[in-house]
Amino acid sequence: MTTSLVKPARRRRAPGSSRIGSTVLLVVLSVLVLIPFLWMISLAFTPENDAFGSVSLIPANPTFENFGTAFIDVELGRALVNSAIVALVTVATNCAFAVLAGYAFAMMRFPGSNALFYILISTAAIPVSVTLIPLFLMARGIPLAGGNDILGHGGSGLLDTLAGVVLPYIVMPLNIFLARQFFSTAPTELAEAARMDGAGEFRIFARVYLPLAKPLIAVIAIFSFTGVWDDFLWPLVVTSSPETQTVQLALARFLASGNVQYGPVMAGAVIATLPVLIVFLFNQRSFISGLADGSVKG
């Protein structure tokens, strides 16, 4: 009773001042969070001789030289092509298989479908290190690949190939989950009507529901792309030569030289970040709502 009398007065002071206060706080925090990136960009354009000891964010003698060095020293161009191939295949297979499966789990229940769904989804929680070694051995033992015989012996299988890099990403369980969530809110009347008209099941999926699923496809494409683009451990394990390495590994190769040249490193980091940043800037909404949708429901 007494609190209800006291509290409003205390709140009165708040709105104006706290709004300004929280905006100032946000500006400070955003700057703090962004400082490392601003330095990354700055160093990418700073000549190697000026890299240390300068406290200025804007390079005195800006140069593009570091980008050239990055492309030559760690074969960044090759790595970008490799990463792009791996990412495109991953996006395509996830959009095809994960969306199809998610659609079926939502719209075409069959005996045991729920159990199967939960088994498949639960694999998303398996730590990478648990499947890392078996996947490495399986990649090596794929029959008839890389000099292997029909039993998968003798050669190197998919080790050190782009197919080997793609192997664990073909269908990501989280995408099936997102797809099922999406289609479970879609109207079922359309399918029934189409069935009455005699359309086949695949046709109903492809012609009726797929066009409705553009936001879903966008989210799955974005998540698959960023996930694969950023992955480090699996490419590190499965590849061994610069010809098959991805962008993240190319970046890490700067460290092997012992004396790290930070100008080219940062130039490489800027380039490696650019595709993901572009995807993000064009799809902020899908990014942020997709992240939320995938986790809140279910």
């Binding site: 929280s22 330095w39 199809l100 730590p127 073909i170 369980p173 008209d197 809140v296």
Partner: protein, 314 residues
């Protein structure tokens, strides 16, 4: 006519004996058979490349196996697990991983919650702040680690700042005492954005009426936060904490770039140890056993955390 069309299409995709199955169980209608067909490619893939590897890895953990040897895995029973008990490196790696999770997790969740509360109200430029704070999440861990490697380096940003205010240089990543803290600071910063966005989504799913009701009941800001926000946020909070535990306990890329597990093993996480055991020392059996012990710890720890977070609801 249309009916014959679709049945013939159905018959071609699953040729052998459709009628008996349909008669035996009414639940198997034509649509559900198609459902199974739609699910099959993804399901087979996940079984072959996710579930079978888990079983295969479990079997490997009871063997001695070098990928270089001509021979296959040799069964050794529980030797690998018994060996881990007396392996000081593994005990150390467990402690390092545990410390890493425990010092990153609370800070990153609490700061992310504060940020989420700050950007929850609509105001001019809120979109910019949300995106700016989310940026560390978008940039890959490798790139982020390289930036911080420079900031921690001898004449990097942090030492420049120390020098400017008259303090001596620190060997951030080169001292066993500070290396893991330095890595943790980076990881806290890196994890803020995604936690913030998830918690923001949680905040926005709390019905506004609850806050109005609380105000009518005379609740001040603190009480509204305590009795409306926190309970409403609980499911998301549990999710965020569980996911953070799973990811943090598998720290690898940042360790690889920042310290390579050193100095003196002070940043050797279990995942980093597994990597070196398997791919530098070629001991796949031992490494597999380590992976399953880590798996057990992750499950146990996230289960306990979730239960304690859920339990307080009552």
């Amino acid at each position: 006519m249309t009916a014959t069309l679709s049945t013939s299409a159905g018959a071609t995709t699953r040729a052998p004996a459709p009628p008996p199955a349909r008669r035996r169980r009414r639940r198997w209608n034509r649509v559900s058979v198609f459902g199974l067909v739609f699910v099959l490619p993804a399901a087979l893939y996940i079984v072959i490349f996710q579930l079978i590897p888990v079983l295969y890895g479990f079997v490997l953990s009871f063997t001695k196996y070098s990928p270089l040897s001509r021979k296959g895995p040799e069964a050794v029973g529980l030797d690998n697990y018994a060996g881990l008990l007396s392996n000081p490196d593994f005990g150390n790696a467990l402690l390092v991983t545990g410390r890493y999770v425990l010092q990153v997790l609370p800070l990153t969740v609490v700061i992310a919650l504060a940020l989420a509360l700050l950007v929850n109200r609509p105001f001019r430029g809120v979109g910019f702040f949300r995106s700016a704070l989310y940026v560390p999440h978008i940039v890959s861990l490798t790139a982020v680690s390289l930036i911080w490697l420079w900031m921690y380096s001898q004449s990097g940003l942090f030492n420049e700042i120390l020098n400017t205010i008259g303090l001596p240089d620190q060997a951030w990543l080169l001292e066993p005492d500070s290396a893991l803290n330095a890595a943790s600071a980076m990881r806290i910063w890196k994890a803020l954005g995604s936690n913030m966005v998830l918690l923001l989504a949680g905040l926005q799913s709390i019905p506004k009426e609850l806050y109005e009701a609380a105000r009518v009941d005379g609740a001040g800001r603190w009480n509204a936060f305590r009795f409306v926000t926190i309970p409403g946020l609980k499911p998301m909070l549990v999710y965020v904490v569980a996911m953070d535990i799973i990811y943090l306990a598998q720290g690898f890329a940042e360790i690889y770039v920042l310290t390579k597990g050193g100095p003196l093993g002070s940043t050797t996480t279990v995942n980093y140890l597994i990597y070196t055991q398997a791919f530098q020392y070629n001991q796949l059996g031992t490494a597999s056993a380590m992976a399953f012990v880590l798996f057990a710890f992750i499950i146990g720890f996230s289960f306990l955390t979730m239960r304690s977070l859920m339990g307080r609801q009552k």
